[in-house]
């Protein structure tokens, strides 16, 4: 057994909290935008109307009037949607392991999106947006597909991490030698 301590170059610097939040914010905006666009196009294609998803979200603030009120409710729905998507993406950014590949982020994102769908559909909507809950029950599969699109969008998280940290794993600025002693 060797008595010499082995040294290894580790990627030690953990993403700072601010970086995680920034990465989560950006990936949440991207994934949220993809999800919203998918839902809007789907509803339009099915004959329901392009802005219906946004109006449904806005029912949390304006009640059923959000379905017939002027355009400001659409803006409110968009704000609520992106606030929620960013919040969930920040959590995802925090729990995704450091150094995870885009491929890992893809599968983790899809699995995560199923969890988000479950919590939002059955844990949040019945309490905070009953009207949207009823409308989602009317077309449940499209709500799930939309969340899959969101999860797919989260695969950008590792790439955003690398960009925001401004380096790669072998960067001297981001690593130091750590002696390992048994």
């Amino acid at each position: 057994m060797s008595r010499f301590p082995e040294t290894r170059r580790h990627e030690l610097s953990q993403p700072l909290g601010g970086t995680k939040v920034a990465v989560g914010f950006l990936s949440g905006v991207l994934a949220g935008a993809a999800m919203l666009l998918f839902q809007s196009v789907a509803y339009w294609h099915l004959g329901g109307g392009f802005w219906v998803p946004e109006r449904q979200v806005a029912c949390a603030l304006y009640g059923l009037d959000a379905l017939i009120d002027p355009g400001y409710v659409v803006a409110a729905g968009i704000v609520i949607h992106f606030t929620t998507s960013v919040a969930w993406a920040i959590i995802f950014s925090a729990i995704l392991p450091l150094g995870a590949s885009t491929w890992t982020a893809l599968w983790a994102g899809l699995a995560y999106s199923v969890g988000v769908w479950g919590v939002m559909t059955y844990g949040v909507l019945p309490w905070f947006n009953e009207y949207m809950y009823q409308r989602v029950a009317f077309m449940p599969e499209w709500n799930l597909y939309g969340h899959f699109v969101y999860g797919f969008g989260l695969l950008a998280t590792p790439s955003l991490r690398r960009r925001l940290r401004g380096g790669n794993l072998s960067s001297r600025r981001n690593s130091r030698i750590l002696p390992l002693t048994p």
């Binding site: 099915l46 329901g48 109307g49 017939i68 009823q134």
Partner: protein, 174 residues
């Protein structure tokens, strides 16, 4: 080998679980056929009403209400037809009844200033009648998918009724 046998058993179990009973072919049962035909023709009528309101209403809110009726009943009708198709049932495409046709004609003939209130009042009463009819029918339906369809469609009809009541309260002002 135990592992190979286990895989074979799992594969057979999965195949059995995935196997669905063949869909019945031909027309639906008599009572179900009547109910589905009534629901289908109601959707078509509401779609026409919604289209009329989206084109003719003076108030923007009433126009949006018409668009909502049009969109939701389109989706509901599509779901109904998909459900019937999955079972191999053919729903008879019913024309508008005499009463419905006369109501539409009366709305079209109304002066623009009177359209909104007349439309919204009619929509409120019409949705109330439809909800009562479907609630009565729901108790007689045994098919689980149809019961589920009725259960998720009723809240949407209720929302339309609530919106109509709200619009009357607002005086159909934009």
């Amino acid at each position: 080998m135990p592992t190979r046998r286990a895989f074979a058993v799992l594969a057979a179990a999965a195949a059995l679980a995935a196997a669905k009973p063949p869909a019945p072919q031909g027309p639906p049962p008599a009572d179900m056929g009547r109910l589905l035909s009534v629901i289908h023709s109601t959707h078509l009528y509401e779609i026409e009403l919604g289209r009329l309101a989206a084109d003719r209403a003076q108030s923007l809110r009433v126009r949006r209400y018409g668009q909502r009726m049009l969109g939701d009943h389109r989706i509901a009708d599509r779901k109904l037809m998909d459900l019937a198709r999955a079972r191999g049932w053919k729903i008879e495409s019913a024309a508008l009844s005499e009463e419905e046709r006369l109501h539409l004609q009366a709305l079209v003939a109304l002066p623009a200033a009177d359209f909104d209130v007349a439309f919204v009042s009619g929509a409120r009463e019409g949705h109330r009648e439809t909800m009562d009819r479907l609630a009565a029918a729901e108790g007689t339906v045994t098919d689980r998918a149809i019961r589920r369809y009725l259960a998720v469609t009723m809240p949407i009809l209720h929302q339309h009724w609530l919106l109509a009541a709200r619009l009357l309260q607002l005086g159909s002002r934009a």
